[in-house]
């Protein structure tokens, strides 16, 4: 039983990180119809910021907000430089653009920083653990869960109460009508990228605090997971992205924990098989976007 509780905590922590990542993709997709595959590179930028802050001796409590800020600035810059010129383009054009941005950034990291993994200094606290009853929970797991909850609460408030947030929801439902109502397209889209940068930054801090290193290709795996989670939850739906992220985390951790050893090498195919099975029954994802199918795709 203790083992099950503990694995559930692990699943919550991993699922939370996936949820933040998927949410970052979904925020932009819901408005622009763009799946930003350079989302992972925003995480890498955060990671390198953490690394340089560590080398410069900046305290961790300051380097974390700096790292998150770096991802936000990079996301907004990415929109301004790469995505604005192709905004009216087809989905394929934007998709290819995002791949190009990702590759260009990877090559820049490789050539300007290092092709090798760089160590990131982390406070020792992050590798400690707490014992609650018979359950041992790592501090970084607690940090991941708390950060996820905080971000979800913040986003919920922002989307429902703030003017920009409401404008973003309106734009997600029907961009053309929203613009006719006087909502500025540039503000909404830049806002969406800033939010996705924020989510990428927070996810990056959680991601890096597990592995204590950063490398140029670091963004590939998380963006892939986020993509799977976003599809699973329902592309374009924010609630769906969160649900998909958590479900993917649970599938991965429970399979790794409870699948018999003989089947462990088939863990990833089995996990993705479950995802396909869910999509067979709910082709638009678990919580589909209301407007998906009518306006976009």
């Amino acid at each position: 039983m203790d083992l099950f509780v503990q694995q559930t905590v692990n699943a919550l922590a991993l699922g939370g990180t996936y949820a933040l990542l998927a949410l970052g993709l979904a925020v932009v997709f819901s408005i622009m119809g763009l799946i930003n595959f350079a989302h992972g590179e925003l995480m890498t930028i955060s990671g390198y910021t953490l690394m340089y802050c560590g080398i410069a001796g900046v305290p961790f409590v300051i380097s974390v907000p700096l790292a998150i800020l770096a991802a936000m600035v990079a996301a907004v810059a990415m929109e301004r430089i790469a995505f604005r010129p192709v905004r009216g383009g087809s989905g394929a054009t934007m998709l290819i653009t995002s791949f190009a941005v990702a590759m260009i950034l990877q090559v820049l990291f490789q050539n300007l920083i290092s092709a090798r993994s760089q160590a990131v200094m982390l406070p020792p606290l992050l590798s400690e653990s707490l014992r609650i009853g018979n359950v041992i929970i790592g501090v970084n797991k607690i940090a991941a869960i708390v950060a996820t909850v905080l971000m979800l609460v913040f986003l919920d408030r922002f989307m429902n109460r703030q003017k920009t947030g409401i404008a973003m929801r309106a734009a997600a439902e029907d961009f053309a009508i929203a613009r006719l109502m006087g909502i500025r397209a540039n503000t909404v889209i830049a806002g969406a990228f800033a939010i996705s940068g924020l989510l990428a930054g927070v996810a990056a801090v959680l991601w890096v605090s597990q592995r204590a290193s950063v490398d140029p290709l670091m963004g590939f795996t998380p963006v892939l997971k986020a993509f799977i989670a976003a599809i699973l939850g329902g592309l374009g739906s924010l609630r769906g992205a969160v649900a998909g992220g958590f479900l993917l985390g649970f599938i991965e951790v429970y399979l790794a924990a409870f699948l018999p050893q003989e089947l462990q090498e088939f863990r990833d195919p089995i996990g993705l098989g479950i995802v396909v099975l869910i999509l067979l029954f709910r082709p638009n994802g678990m919580i589909p976007s209301r407007v998906l199918g009518s306006v976009k795709v």
Partner: protein, 384 residues
């Protein structure tokens, strides 16, 4: 102007016979991508050796070495393409990436062109076995490393073990050799876990190991960055107190900068700079050239690679013919490299080299020993 061109042409023509004494080594290595952690530092060591030899007048005082470099981006298909390009360029020796899988991808090209190929740091003993006469390795084999670490663990009094391995590459299956040797010695395996390379979360594995009662004495893995730091942090956070044993892949700054979590980890690698050793002088020369000490043993192993080629050319009476070099290389004995003596004679291309056991202490290296394992303890190469 015309006269100048003419003059230089004449000079060039006269200089040509001397310039022809060049050994071209083609490198199809992974300077970017997932294998750059090994191949980038290896290349630094290779260049150091090339510069040293050329400054001294070349191999045997006459044959200058020229490197023809290609980056294969850690991609097997690209490795095969780059190898073909190097063959077409007429190189005498080809250097392949530091993992068996991309190296194997180039084997067809290399064998049919009959040009000797040597992998930077691939340590799977299956590589030269599958690769045939023209494929050489340049690192202590996985089976030898595992025999050394298993013997050490057993001698330390550890009796139970758990392995974490990945079937994604040959190298990450090293723990399976460890299991065989450890059981042969009389140790008991409590269990095993598998991971995928690049997997973010190791907490499920860590929690499973922590829940064992009693916990295994030893957890052995050949995961490397970014997986190893992630796994180790997860294990310690989950409350696993076992001795952790790793392999050469973690001989990297990402291991030494882990702080308290990394302390006490023991791993096998290709060398340790004892006082007065060749490795110590290599480290000094490296620092003089690059401005900082080498970050990993791979740089010294890259230096060794060039020394092996140099020795082979000398043994082939200064021939730059690929076939002659291959014959000579297969019979090399006790070549002095930066990490120690290297022998190919009597092997299938997997060199006999010293293995060092190193413990992480105060964020640095501490030598545990440089034992030579009993030949009958070393498991046979495992074909997958």
């Amino acid at each position: 102007m015309k006269k100048l061109i003419l003059t230089s042409a004449i000079v060039a023509a006269f200089a040509a016979p001397v310039a022809a004494e060049t050994l071209t080594i083609g490198t199809a290595t992974a300077q970017t991508g997932s294998l750059a952690y090994a191949d980038a530092p290896t290349m630094q060591g290779m260049k150091l050796a090339v510069d040293e030899i050329n400054e001294a007048g070349g191999i045997g005082g006459t044959i200058k070495i020229e490197l023809l470099e290609k980056d294969v981006r850690s991609d097997p298909a690209q490795t095969s393409i780059a190898a073909q390009e190097l063959v077409d360029a007429g190189v005498s020796v080809i250097v392949l990436p530091g993992d068996s899988d991309p190296s194997l991808a180039a084997i067809g090209v290399v064998s049919s062109a009959e040009i000797p190929a040597i992998s930077t740091v691939a340590s799977s003993p299956t590589l030269p076995e599958i690769g045939g006469d023209y494929m050489f390795s340049n690192f202590p084999g996985d089976n030898v490393q595992a025999a050394v670490s298993a013997k050490w663990a057993y001698d330390e009094g550890f009796r139970t073990a758990w392995i974490v391995y990945s079937l994604d590459t040959q190298y990450t299956t090293m723990p399976l050799y460890f299991r065989d040797v450890f059981e042969k010695l009389g140790g008991e395996m409590l269990g095993e876990s598998t991971n995928t390379i690049g997997q973010q979360d190791f907490s499920a594995i860590a929690t499973t190991i922590a829940a064992q009662d009693p916990q295994p004495d030893v957890v052995m893995t050949s995961a490397y960055e970014p997986d190893f730091p992630s796994l180790l942090r997860a294990l310690r956070a989950a409350g696993v107190t076992s001795q952790i044993i790793g392999s050469d892949g973690i001989d990297s700054p990402t291991t030494f900068s882990l702080g308290d979590v990394g302390e006490g980890v023991v791993f096998t690698t290709a060398g340790f700079a004892t006082e007065g050793s060749a490795l110590e002088s290599f480290d000094k020369a490296f620092e003089a050239k690059y401005g900082s000490a080498p970050e990993t043993i791979y740089s010294a192993v890259g230096y060794d690679l060039i020394k092996v080629i140099e020795a082979a050319v000398i043994a082939a009476d200064g021939s730059t013919d690929p076939k002659a070099i291959q014959q000579a290389m297969a019979n090399l004995e006790n070549v002095q490299g930066a990490t120690g003596l290297i022998t190919y004679k009597g092997t299938n291309g997997m060199p006999i080299r010293q293995v060092s056991l190193i413990r992480v202490k105060d964020g640095g290296r501490e030598l545990v020993g440089q034992p030579t394992p009993d030949a009958d303890l070393i498991p046979a190469p495992r074909m997958q």
